[in-house]
């Protein structure tokens, strides 16, 4: 059974999500409304997947993600947010979240996203694809950054189609690729961004003498 932790400060929503997950056959190992508490109990609860509301009252989404990844290595984080603050979503993805979904997504869409997250896939919305595309373009024109990652032509093509709302199946059809290959391309773009983020953080730490 897949172990799931739900972190959301809205009680009504949290309970609803827990019920839906239990009904779909997941084991809900913890549910909390606070980011710090989530990080504290993560090691003991050993979740496989964390459903994380991006806007928590106590700490930022990025801090929770960093904490969770430190306490429970290998945990997969699916972000949910109600308001879609663009920069927050991008920062969370760079910090290592595996996917992103708007809270307005339907139940079926939500459960599919959870199962894909549990299976190690990334969950992209068109909005997230647009943000990632924008971030790579921003990095490309950044002057003094020689380590900036670049997308291959194929990856750009795939991301653009995701951003335009095509399903992986439709993309595979259009580009004459396998579904799995499309999935891999999308995952790679996220991997590059996360790796670059870690490199940046390390470099910053060394520059600041924190190594």
């Amino acid at each position: 059974m897949v172990r799931v932790m739900v972190v959301d400060d809205h009680p009504m929503w949290r309970e609803g999500v827990c019920r839906d997950l239990a009904a779909a056959g997941y084991e809900v190992v913890a549910a909390t409304g606070e980011g710090r508490q989530a990080v504290r109990i993560a090691a003991a609860a050993r979740p496989d997947v964390v459903i994380l509301d991006l806007q928590l009252p106590d700490v930022s989404g990025v801090e929770v993600i960093n904490g969770l990844r430190a306490e429970a290595p290998g945990v997969r984080i699916l972000m949910l947010s109600a308001s879609g603050e663009q920069q927050d979503v991008l920062d969370a993805v760079k910090a290592g979240a595996a996917g992103y979904l708007l809270k307005s997504a339907g139940l079926a869409e939500f459960l599919e996203a959870v199962s894909r997250t549990a299976a190690g896939d990334t969950v992209f919305t068109p909005g997230l694809a647009g943000l990632v595309l924008g971030e790579f373009r921003r990095l490309a024109v950044e002057p003094f950054d020689k380590t900036a990652p670049k997308l291959t032509e194929r990856e750009t093509e795939v991301l653009r189609l995701v951003a335009k709302g095509l399903s992986y199946r439709q993309i595979a059809e259009r580009l004459v690729l396998s579904h799995r290959t499309v999935q891999n391309h999308v995952q790679n773009t996220l991997g590059k961004l996360q790796l670059h983020n870690r490199v940046e953080l390390t470099r910053y730490a060394i520059e600041q003498g924190l190594d």
Binding site: G16, A82, G84, L102, P126, G127, G134, Q170, R174
Partner: protein, 378 residues
């Protein structure tokens, strides 16, 4: 001239200027008194110099108080100040005497007579200052009857000082107003952010929940309300005070987001000249209207905004039935691509291009491309 003085414009920043004029007046009075004492013996009617000095001292005290209060800085006071000072200056003719004046002895109101000119410059800007400087300078020249280089220099200096003070006051006024606007904007932004947090913490969550639990009309309405609010929360008044020329395209397109329209784009603002951005947004709106008219209900539309080094690319895609390629040509031949033509027209006007591609089963895609160096609509 006096009428154009804007008494109403006074705000906190003028107070130090009026204090400075008061200090100047006191210092000038001291200087004038010293000169009277030293030149006393050369005067034609020395005893009359004291009452004039007394009046000047009284006026100095009076104006110090009068100008300190913005409500009292009205045209009658400015005119009275100018006239009384000119009168004190003119009193030099009978008291100091023609002979002594022509001999180069100073007037009774020497230096003190500049004070009202400065007052006019502060209250009336450059023009007020120049008017007062001309009146006072002419009086000074006539009184001294010294029509040579040295005679003119004093009046010219006074004129230049009036212009400089008037100019500085105008600049200070502008800076003050700008600061005022910035403070107001900041307060408004903070209020908006607070509101956004509240909306996020309560309304959005409930609306999302309703969407999950309900189906049909209620879910659709909840979805649309949620999308509208989400836009309101995510993109608040990002436009700053002095940035009227460029706007964020994402902000302009934001209102199009709904349960059936998804908007994707970079996290950073996509800046375009305001008229260009508005025109582009209108073209996007036309493309979305087209989707609404020609596609079955329930069709979803996706907006993708991309910023490339060479320009901005906006794609409007729908997941409707699409159009077979031959039908597209056929429609074009029959002139039935009205909306498509209007979109193309708008983009051509902006120096950009629009292309429409459609594939059966994959929906229709409208690509609007705008070069960075595109001509600005003015």
């Amino acid at each position: 001239m006096v009428g154009s003085m804007r008494q109403g414009r006074d705000t906190g920043f003028q107070a130090p200027l009026w204090r400075a004029i008061a200090v100047y007046r006191i210092a000038a009075l001291t200087y004038a008194t010293i000169l009277v004492v030293r030149n006393f013996t050369h005067y034609e009617r020395p005893m009359l110099a004291w009452p004039v000095l007394a009046i000047m001292a009284g006026w100095t005290v009076f104006t110090t108080y009068a100008y300190a209060n913005p409500a009292r800085r009205r045209p009658p006071l400015f005119v009275a100040d100018l006239l009384l000072t000119a009168a004190a200056l003119a009193a030099s003719v009978p008291i100091v005497g023609r002979v002594a004046l022509e001999d180069g002895k100073p007037t009774l109101a020497v230096a003190w007579h500049v004070a009202p000119v400065l007052a006019w410059a502060v209250a009336g800007g450059r023009r007020g200052g120049i008017a007062a400087a001309v009146v006072m300078g002419a009086t000074d020249l006539i009184v001294r009857a010294h029509y040579d280089q040295a005679g003119y220099t004093g009046s010219v200096l006074m004129l230049l000082a009036a212009i400089a003070v008037g100019y500085l006051v105008r600049m200070a006024e502008d800076a003050h107003n700008r600061l005022q606007r910035a403070v107001e904007l900041e307060a408004a932004t903070r209020e908006r952010e607070r509101l956004a947090r509240d909306i996020h913490d309560s309304v959005l969550q409930v609306l999302a929940l309703v969407q999950r639990r309900e189906s049909g009309e209620l879910a659709r309405l909840a979805g649309e309300t949620e999308a509208a609010l989400r836009h309101l929360v995510a993109r608040h008044a990002a436009e700053t005070v002095d940035d009227r020329s460029e706007v964020d395209l994402m902000t302009l397109l934001g209102p199009y987001a709904s349960a059936s329209v998804t908007i994707s784009g970079p996290a950073d603002p996509v800046r375009l000249p305001a008229p260009t951005a508005r025109e582009l947004a209108a073209a996007v709106g036309a493309a979305l209207d087209n989707v609404g008219q020609h596609c079955p209900s329930g069709t979803k539309a996706f907006l993708l905004i991309e910023e490339e080094p060479s320009g901005v690319l906006v794609t409007v895609r729908d997941d409707g039935p699409g159009i077979a390629p031959d039908r597209l040509d056929e429609a074009a031949a029959q002139g039935r691509l009205g909306v498509a033509q209007s979109i193309r027209g708008r983009l051509t006007d902006l120096g950009g291009t629009a292309s429409i591609t459609a594939a059966p089963g994959q929906g229709t895609e409208v690509e609007l491309r705008l070069g960075r160096a595109g001509p600005k609509l003015t």
